[in-house]
């Protein structure tokens, strides 16, 4: 996995997405311009490895749902190409969809039907599902998401968490190679969010590739092996979680009664980005050894009360990547 800046990756709008069997989802220059004129998705090159749990992150309005709608053939791209489980393009994608479970933009069901009746309706629309096992498969899906007890309540009476889980259950009506879940934790309390995370872990453990979007990093960072970060329609980062963590520049932080002299020493040593805040001085560490810096400070007579190296938190990285406060608490 390498870092890809969607703009510098040089994807021509019509370069075909590679039919690489190790990728569950691949896009090349995928773009969507709505009639309003604004680019909701700006030429992105997604690469979702088979077997990964891929977190598709970005603030609200950054183009996650629009991308997912294109991947599922619901809307037609304005440019670029995409491949999902080997099937390509809005017109060819139906061939792959029986192997894809999907929850788009939150659950959508008939309020006047029960949970079980709603799943039966989804199953009835499936032209390749096994007819004889419908009841058993519906019960199994309900059981997996913990809704068996509430199966005969009307959807209208479900809590938000139950609605989200029914949405996931509709994706579990048959074995899937890929689950695409758009903000499955949206609006849930911490307990509900934990339940969804547990469910996603189980789905992934069974060998299904999971593509899960969220505007909250904290909700998915524990379960993801890979992430893609969207910002105003562009894919500003794609890689493994380790790649993301490694992306932050290490900084050195010195606590001292004479911060200005310390800053001068750091600058003389060639450290960039030195900054003073009260009695704290920080600078980008780069290739310098912290112990050598300490020795230099002592030689210059700076009273060092504390010295540490810090990496930016994942949250900080997101703020840098998306250029705005990443909503941590919902």
């Amino acid at each position: 996995m390498t870092l890809i800046d969607a703009r510098s990756a040089g994807a021509g709008p019509d370069r075909p997405a590679a039919a690489d069997p190790s990728l569950a989802i691949a896009t090349a220059g995928l773009a969507k311009r709505f009639r309003g004129g604004q680019l909701a998705v700006d030429h992105i090159d997604l690469a979702v490895p088979v077997g990964s749990v891929y977190g598709f992150l970005g603030p609200n309005g950054s183009g996650k749902t629009t991308t997912i709608r294109m991947l599922l053939g619901l809307i037609h791209p304005s440019g670029g190409s995409f491949t999902v489980l080997g099937a390509s393009g809005a017109d060819g994608i139906d061939a792959a969809l029986p192997r894809v479970g999907a929850l788009v933009e939150g659950p959508a069901f008939y309020p006047f039907l029960t949970g079980r009746q709603n799943l039966a309706r989804c199953d009835a629309a499936d032209r390749t599902a096994d007819l004889g096992t419908s009841r058993a498969r519906i019960d199994h899906a309900l059981e997996q998401v913990g809704l068996l007890a509430a199966a005969d309540k009307r959807y209208r009476a479900y809590s938000l968490g139950m609605k989200q889980r029914l949405g996931i259950a509709s994706g579990l009506l048959r074995p899937r190679d890929l689950m695409i879940l758009d903000e499955p934790t949206n609006g849930l309390d911490p307990q509900g969010t934990r339940e969804i995370r547990t469910l996603i872990r189980q789905i992934a453990a069974a060998g299904t590739t999971v593509f899960v979007s969220s505007h909250l990093l904290a909700e998915v960072e524990q379960i993801c092996s890979h992430v893609g970060v969207m910002s105003t329609g562009r894919l500003v980062f794609q890689g493994t979680m380790a790649d993301l963590r490694g992306r932050g520049e290490r900084r050195i932080a010195i606590h001292t009664a004479e911060p200005d002299r310390a800053a001068k020493v750091l600058a003389d040593l060639g450290l960039a980005g030195a900054g003073v805040a009260g009695q704290d001085v920080t600078a980008v560490l780069g290739e310098h050894a912290p112990e050598a810096i300490n020795a230099e400070l002592v030689r210059a007579g700076v009273p060092v009360a504390g010295l540490a190296t810090v990496r930016p938190s994942l949250e900080d990285l997101f703020v840098q990547l998306t250029g705005e406060g990443f909503d941590v608490n919902g």
């Binding site: 599922l72 629309a125 299904t208």
Partner: protein, 297 residues
């Protein structure tokens, strides 16, 4: 949340042997259930069933003179016949309800068909199953056709029952004056039900085409009612007689040809041809639209 039950794996695909007809019948059943359990639609059918009852009582309390109204066509001719023969209550009910209530029922179901599903978000759920865009559209249109038949038959049957309870039943005196046996009269009533259902199904084709353009079911219903009312008004303005045969409602009440001897079949065939043309044109529009439509609700 069960944490230990095994999650289905992605490996063995539970895929049935291709049985397109059985799978389609299953989808059709599901679509029929949605239409016929939806509380609003049941209320709608309730109104259709109650209307002939009211009509029957109104005429029973205030019994018109036989042949009253003096007209040889339209509601007036039918009203005059009801007191003599209850079968005419069914015909009168169809005639009266065709002006607005039956079209309204079709408008409601057509609006729900795609616009309503889009508004609810269930259209994206169905299409990602995948139900197949054209397959789903076709199934929904079949349901509209079935609903048209059920609605017209419901009005006729309730009308017939009320007619039998409140008025004499016997050999039917046709509008042309000849009398035919009761069984012949009932056969003509059945043909009228099918004719009216065909007219409504053609309206439903306009409706399902409109339904592909919006996610607001109400917008579809309102537009359809405007189409029906404007068409009926234009049909009544003799200055534009040249466009009358092309209006969608022009042949709706032409079924009175079935109440005469000899039956003027050309009028019936013209009507059916008009309905077929409307159904084909708007069906084609709907198919073209659904294939390209961006489902962004």
């Amino acid at each position: 949340m069960s944490t230990d039950s095994a999650v289905q794996t992605g490996r063995p695909a539970v895929t049935a042997a291709p049985a397109p007809v059985r799978h389609w019948l299953r989808l059709l059943r599901s679509e029929l259930r949605i239409v016929f359990v939806r509380p609003r639609n049941l209320a709608m059918l309730g109104v259709l069933a109650v209307a002939p009852v009211f009509l029957g009582f109104a005429l029973w309390v205030n019994t018109p003179q036989p042949g009253a109204g003096g007209g040889n066509s339209g509601a007036a001719a039918l009203i005059g016949q009801v007191a003599e023969n209850g079968v005419f209550l069914a015909l009168l009910a169809i005639f009266v309800l065709m002006t607005l209530i039956l079209p309204l029922a079709i408008a409601v179901v057509s609006g729900d068909a795609l616009a309503g599903e889009a508004g609810l978000g269930t259209l994206r759920t169905l299409l990602t199953v995948p139900a197949g865009r054209v397959r789903l559209l076709a199934t929904k249109y079949v349901v509209i056709v079935i609903f048209s038949l059920v609605a017209s038959a419901l009005v006729a049957i309730v009308g017939l029952i009320m007619g039998a309870l409140l008025f004499p039943i016997g050999p039917v005196t046709l509008l042309s004056g000849a009398s035919v046996p009761l069984i012949d009269g009932l056969a003509r009533l059945a043909m009228i039900v099918i004719y009216v259902a065909t007219a409504l199904a053609a309206l439903g084709a306009i409706g399902i085409a409109l339904s592909t353009f919006t996610q607001h079911a109400l917008a579809v219903m309102a537009t359809m009612l405007v189409v029906v009312v404007v068409s009926q008004i234009l049909d009544a303005v003799s200055q534009v007689a040249v466009i009358h045969p092309y209006l969608p409602t022009h042949f709706w009440l032409a079924f009175d040809a079935l109440l005469r001897t000899p039956i003027d079949w050309t009028q019936i065939w013209h009507g059916l041809a008009s309905f077929a043309v409307y159904a084909v044109i708007f069906g084609a529009v709907a198919v073209a639209r659904i294939r390209r439509a961006n489902i962004s609700s």
